[in-house]
């Protein structure tokens, strides 16, 4: 045995006997020594099963914090002999089973004292949250086909959640979830639909996140939770949507639909807006046409259908009036009139239209009417201003015509005078 091997063995013995598996070696030299054995052998083996983890671990967030293979897998990394290195007596656990993974990660991530050494602000309730998730419940019931920590975060190349390459970065989460939730066979076994990603990809949320790059736009975990992932309960849908859409949620809770939906067991916002395929709402949601939502519950001629029709008509009338005012001001601007103040004032009609559309969630025509009425006043004022400008323009044209006529007369008079002078007293004479 060489002196280096002896030293490594001694260090390994010390590490295995006195240092908890989750604690990284203290000094850089010790870290290198602790890691070198596993990585050297696993890379040298050139085996598709064991080499890639050794390669991937180099970029792992845990490796950067000083953790080694043995921190999770146990064993003796300093041993030159595989049997010694993989000796269960030295804590070797090999590849943890899915059922063991949450607990293994929780060794540190559920331990506030351990986490304080690396990231004091990081939450330590992931394991307890996971136990409440559908994934966790099924896992602990013995179903190994559900997601565990490694399913989403990866096992050996775990990146920080704020790293855009991480599978749990906002723009990647939906695809990460879809790895399982888009698997038709797996979802069939769990009696779940496999088209949720396809539906989400049509939604305004997906557009905001992926096309506009708005990282605050919701993805799977925003509504379902991440570690405690589960579908929102029927009664809590409005609360979940309300975390972002607070005005709509408050108005909905103040509306007659709140209690009615609860009695009927309807899932709040989702009833009209869908859950995954949430498209941009249009005013036609209130119509009796193909896109109409109200008529699916309210028969034509009923009070509810009449209320929807009234709200629809009010909103359309404000929209028409605002557009007419905008077009009139645009015409005046193209004719060279100063319209910026009027255009600025008209923006209050746009705000009123937005408010009227939001106030639909009271499901009371008078609430919509109030906002519409305020907007109509603004739009009519702007339109009247455009009419005033058109008249002013006409006045200017008439004034110009009169002025040019007077100037023409004056010029004619001057020319007459010049000719008269020239006739009576020729130039140069």
């Amino acid at each position: 045995m060489t002196s280096r091997s002896a030293l490594l063995l001694a260090a390994g013995w010390i590490a295995a006997s006195s240092v908890p598996a989750a604690t990284p070696p203290v000094t850089p030299a010790a870290r290198q020594a602790a890691a070198i054995g596993c990585v050297d052998c696993h890379l040298a083996l050139d085996d598709d099963r064991v080499s890639p983890p050794a390669k991937a671990f180099a970029d792992d967030v845990h490796a950067r914090a000083g953790f080694t293979c043995a921190s999770c897998h146990g064993g003796d990394p300093r041993a030159e002999d595989q049997d010694v290195a993989h000796d269960p007596k030295k804590g070797f656990r090999g590849k943890p089973s899915p059922r063991d993974i949450p607990q293994l990660c929780g060794t540190c991530h559920a331990d506030a004292a351990a986490m304080k050494q690396f990231n004091p602000s990081l939450r330590v309730d992931q394991l307890s949250e996971y136990r409440t998730s559908h994934h966790g419940k099924r896992l602990f019931e013995g179903d190994n086909s559900v997601a565990t920590c490694a399913s989403c975060h990866g096992a050996h190349g775990i990146l920080h959640v704020k790293d855009s390459r991480s599978p749990v970065y906002p723009t990647r989460i939906a695809q990460t979830c879809n790895r399982c939730h888009g698997d038709v066979g797996l979802m069939k076994a769990h009696k779940l639909p496999a088209d949720v990603y396809a539906k989400y990809a049509q939604s305004v949320h997906h557009q905001a996140l992926m096309k506009k790059g708005d990282l605050s736009a919701p993805t799977c975990n925003s509504c379902h939770g991440n570690h405690g992932a589960a579908p929102p309960q029927v009664a809590s849908v409005a609360n979940v949507c309300g975390t972002c859409h607070s005005v709509f949620a408050d108005e909905f809770k103040a509306s007659p639909h709140w209690e009615a939906f609860a009695e009927m067991g309807l899932p709040g916002c989702v009833t009209c807006h869908e859950n995954h395929a949430i498209v941009h709402p249009t005013d036609e949601f209130l119509s009796t046409g193909k896109e109409g939502k109200c008529t699916s519950c309210h028969e034509p001629g009923t009070e509810g259908a009449r209320a929807a029709a009234a709200m629809h008509a009010d909103i359309l009338s404000l929209q028409r009036e605002t557009e007419a005012a905008r077009a009139a001001l645009r015409r005046e601007a193209e004719a060279g009139m100063e319209v910026s103040r009027a255009q600025f004032d008209l923006s209050r009609a746009d705000e009123a239209l937005t408010k009227a559309r939001a106030d639909v969630h009271y499901f009371q025509p008078y609430a919509v009417q109030q906002a519409v009425s305020a907007g109509m006043t603004v739009a009519r004022t702007a339109r009247a201003e455009a009419v005033r400008m058109r008249r002013d323009r006409e006045f200017r044209r008439k004034g110009l015509f009169v002025s040019l006529a007077l100037i023409g007369l004056a010029v004619a008079g001057l020319v007459f005078k010049i000719r008269d002078n020239d006739r009576r007293r020729p130039p140069g004479a």
Partner: protein, 355 residues
């Protein structure tokens, strides 16, 4: 009247006016350009004074005050549009006046100082245009002024200090606006009054210049300045008023959007048409020529052209001696063609980016 006549003595002026004659020949029409420039200057003074009543020279209020003039003040739109259109016509007429005086060789002795004072008046006119362009504090004027005030910064040694003084700081800000306002309504008018007074006195003293080709033919016909020439002048002035009124009523001068110093410069930023040739020419200079920044060389070149323009009567001695100044005419035609070509290139969408 007699009391006033004894104290003011306008009979002398009337006598002078009655004596003044204007030669009649094939180029007489060019004599009207001077009077037209003077008339347009007076229009600018009158409309400018009216705008002063409502304009507020601060970055917070300038745009809004012009907006108020355009939308709320009775006939404010007319006054502001006439002032803006009038400025452009004024520059155009002054340039035409200079070109005609050059080719008619009116700078020959003893009218050298008349030319020099006129050339200075042209630069003052351009100064009026440059300083006035910023005053509405809109996006175009703001960014054009940023580019424009970068030009003097290229002068070695005093350039950065000059730009600093011009801007009232290291960048175009509200301080620049109040500075440009002061320059536009006080400093330039004061200097212009002096040079315009000198120019007019010299014109009266030396009378109208005859082009060499007319002079060689000997004494010709002439007309009285008052009333014959003045009446013809007035026809031109009234026509100018009609054109200005039509432009103001049919194509009111646009106000644009309020300047936002924190927003990126919009595409297609360019100065007024009379600076376009210089603006375009600067784009053709390489970044460095023999270790000297290209823009600096460009600014030097413009400075040399301006100096040569002022010194034309002193440099072209042959013209005063009665010899034809062929080379000067050729150089002037070349410079004019170049300026027109560069202006067209700057106006073409494809001509805007740097080559």
């Amino acid at each position: 009247m007699a009391w006033l006549r004894d104290r003011i003595g306008w009979e002398d002026i009337a006598h002078l006016a009655a004596k003044k004659e204007v030669p009649i020949h094939r180029y007489t029409v060019f004599y009207y350009l001077g009077g037209m420039a003077l008339f347009l200057f007076m229009v600018q003074v009158a409309t400018g004074i009216l705008l002063l009543l409502y304009y507020r020279p601060s970055s917070a209020e300038a745009f809004e005050s012009v907006q108020y003039i355009m939308a709320e003040v009775p006939f404010g739109w007319l006054i502001r549009s006439i002032h803006s259109w009038g400025a452009n016509l004024f520059v155009g007429v002054v340039v035409l006046h200079l070109i005609s005086v050059f080719f008619l060789k009116a700078y020959r002795a003893p009218r050298e100082l008349t030319w020099i004072s006129g050339a200075v008046l042209l630069f003052l006119t351009l100064g009026f245009g440059f300083s006035g362009y910023l005053l509405p504090w809109n996006t175009l004027s703001y960014f054009a002024t940023k580019v424009g005030t970068d030009v003097p910064a290229q002068i070695p040694g005093i350039g950065p200090l000059l730009a600093q003084i011009l801007r009232g700081g290291s960048d175009v800000t509200g301080a620049t606006l109040s500075r440009f306002y002061g320059i536009h309504v006080a400093i330039l008018p004061a200097i212009t009054t002096l040079f315009l007074g000198l120019h007019l006195i010299l014109v009266q003293r030396h009378g109208m210049s005859l082009p060499p080709s007319v002079e060689r033919r000997g004494p010709g016909r002439s007309m009285k300045f008052v009333p014959d020439f003045l009446l013809r002048d007035m026809v031109g002035w009234l026509t100018a008023v009609g054109i200005l009124a039509a432009l103001a009523a049919l194509l009111p001068w646009e106000l644009g959007r309020k300047a936002d110093p924190f927003s990126p410069a919009p595409a297609g930023i360019r100065p007024e048409w009379y600076f376009l040739s210089m603006f375009q020419a600067l784009k053709y200079f390489p970044s460095e020529i023999g270790g000297v920044p290209g823009e600096m060389i460009g600014v030097f070149l413009f400075g040399a052209i301006a100096a040569a323009l002022v010194a034309v009567p002193l440099l072209d001695r042959g013209a005063s001696a009665g010899r034809p100044s062929v080379w000067w005419n050729r150089a002037a035609v070349l410079a004019l063609a170049g300026a027109v070509a560069l202006t067209i290139l700057a106006l073409l969408p494809a001509g805007r980016p740097a080559p």
